[in-house]
Amino acid sequence: MTQLAEPPSITPAGPELVEPRAGLVGWATSIDHKRIALLTIGTSLLLFLVFGAIALVMRVQLAQPNQHFVSLFTYNELFTLHGSGMIVLVITPLAIGMCLYLVPLQVGAPMCAAPKMAMFSYWLYVLSASLLLISSTLAGPPDTGWYSYTPLSDSQYSPGTGMDLWVFAMMIGVTAMMIMAGCVLWTALRMRAPGMSLMKMPVFTWSAVVTCLMSVAAFPSLVAAMSLIAVGRADPAILAHYKWDMAYQYLFWFYGHPVVYVMFFPFVGCVATVLAAFSRRMYFGYHFTVFALLAFAAGSMSVFGHHMFTTGQIIDNYFSLTSVMLSVPAGVEYFGFVSTILGGRLHYKTPMLFALAFIPQFLVGGVTGIMLAMPVLDYHFHGSYFVVGHFHYTLFAGSVFGAFAGIYYWFPKATGVMLDDKLGKWHFWLMCLGANATFLPMLFQGFDGLPRRVGTYPASMHIGALTLTSTIGAGVIALSVAIFLYNVAKSLIVRVPAADDAWGVGETLEWATSSPPPPFNYDERHPIRPIKSYAPLLTLQWEEEDERQREAASS
């Protein structure tokens, strides 16, 4: 049991401070990082269904040429809601919510830093989601794309209160996640348990640290960009000069690129953790991976210009160099993934399947990203479905698979019950099939010249088979998500109890506490175990095995 150097005497606090409230009010006003995180993750998954349903409507519209399932104006609204919702309200909160849940547990802290601020950020996020959805029902709904370039988004070209509300919703949504990320970052940097030095933090915690650094550094830029739109909407004449349009794009993409990394780094951490656990090995190349994560994330602040190659207002060579350079730390991370599973004793449980599928699928997203980082290719692909295929491979076939690896892995820890592994495998195989059937044809649709953000296309393009495949794939994804929901509902009703170390392969501190963990994470029955490495439980297990072997040999 690890103790503080001089533990203070225990004096009972007032009962009004100690006793949590019961029921929904207790959850809504809790300072427990686990509850705040589960609320955030739950809300993001609920919104995933909403914005996923919007994507399905878009896919139906695009299934065949010259369709009129929805009007073209409605289509503009749908892709704006889908893009802004998925990025600001679904994947970013899911990523940072997972960090909020796991980081205090993994570093041995009893709570997160500034828990009231964390709960404040959750409610700000909920209000942001509500306002964004309401904005689509008002006059002048948002229909300018998630980036909402000026002057298209000013009040001259996009009049109405719907767009005003969307701008405000984006502002507070991003602010909420920035605050939550700050809480997680402070927890990792200042609230580690005795013995948990920085270089003993698990890989997931490191991925959370770099994620939160990016959030704190880049998210204020979107608040500034949205403020610029707000000024443009108050009086378009103020920002009439084209330089303001460029200023908006700089601000927007200074947020817009790092946020992509915010949306996948925690899931890289999930995948690394799951691969190591189900291979029964310590993560290979830990130190190199930590520095690769730091270099990758810090470098992400310098690559945003590749979104603006075709504006002619950016130094192409510089941003091409910085973007392509990121493939070096990415390669180090991949080397770590592959080397961890090579020679390991692999257990093909559902989390492991999602983690294994992440590796090649995310690679497709990464490699197509490198193609887009080269100006000569980007000028050709810009604004085409190739770009749509690229970022959906990154964010869905990559991030969402990583997220499900983490969700399946830590679900028993968070709820105390196991998910059904058989249903999980059905979910995995259908989602794997659906994701590739949806997004791989998009790359070819882009090759064939289909532009992004179009609500229909002529039959003369001869891409009907490809678009229909994408639509069928989207339906398969929806089916797989339905199986996941059924699995969660069934597990919560049947309640097969999970052990403290639910999978029997846990390597990090959270698997030493109860499932679910007690209010302050560790208590007298579940103390923080000695921290001797970045996989403390595995190290202890090895030491115990060595001890047993020595005793057997001596006897």
């Binding site: 103790q3 503080l4 150097a5 533990p7 203070p8 005497s9 225990i10 004096t11 606090a13 100690v18 705040i36 802290a109 009893p110 709570m111 830093a113 828990p115 009231k116 601020m117 964390a118 709960m119 404040f120 950020s121 959750y122 409610w123 700000l124 209000l127 306002l131 209160t161 405000f168 507070i172 700050g182 970052l185 940097l189 200042r190 609230m191 580690r192 348990a193 013995g195 030095s197 920085l198 270089m199 003993k200 650094l213 704190v216 550094a217 204020p220 700089y250 601000l251 810090a298 470098g299 602040m301 310098s302 207002q313 130094i315 060579n317 510089y318 910085t322 302050f520 560790y522 007298e524």
Partner: protein, 142 residues
Amino acid sequence: MAVLAGLWRRLHTPETGAMKGAMIPVGWAAYNGVWMAVLGGFGTHNAEIVWLYVASGAIITSFGLAVFLHKVRHPIDPTLRRLPLRADAGICAAFGIAFIGIGVIFGAWWYPFATIFLVEAIWLVVKDYRLYRRIKTRPPVP
């Protein structure tokens, strides 16, 4: 010299490890400073982007500085001891801020609602702070 040595000793407490958390954000800002310098090598065509780097670097460095100063003032983080309070103030503050924004869009009649929530939030923070001060010691982390 003795002051520096004392400071160094306070920073290197065995409980929190040798590497310092503050170095991460500061190193991050420095790394981006290097890339900013490389940008300079490509000419001054995109000089305005430098302000983005500077602003972002300043935010991150401030965070690192806050971690550093907190570390100097509290070598063992006091929040490692349990502090059970409630987050009611957070909900009120969130609604207050949301109503301010809605008021800007839909009219000033939303502001009284915003005021009520924000005043409530401040009152709850003050109340919590007074309770916090009343607790002299708290149970340690096991």
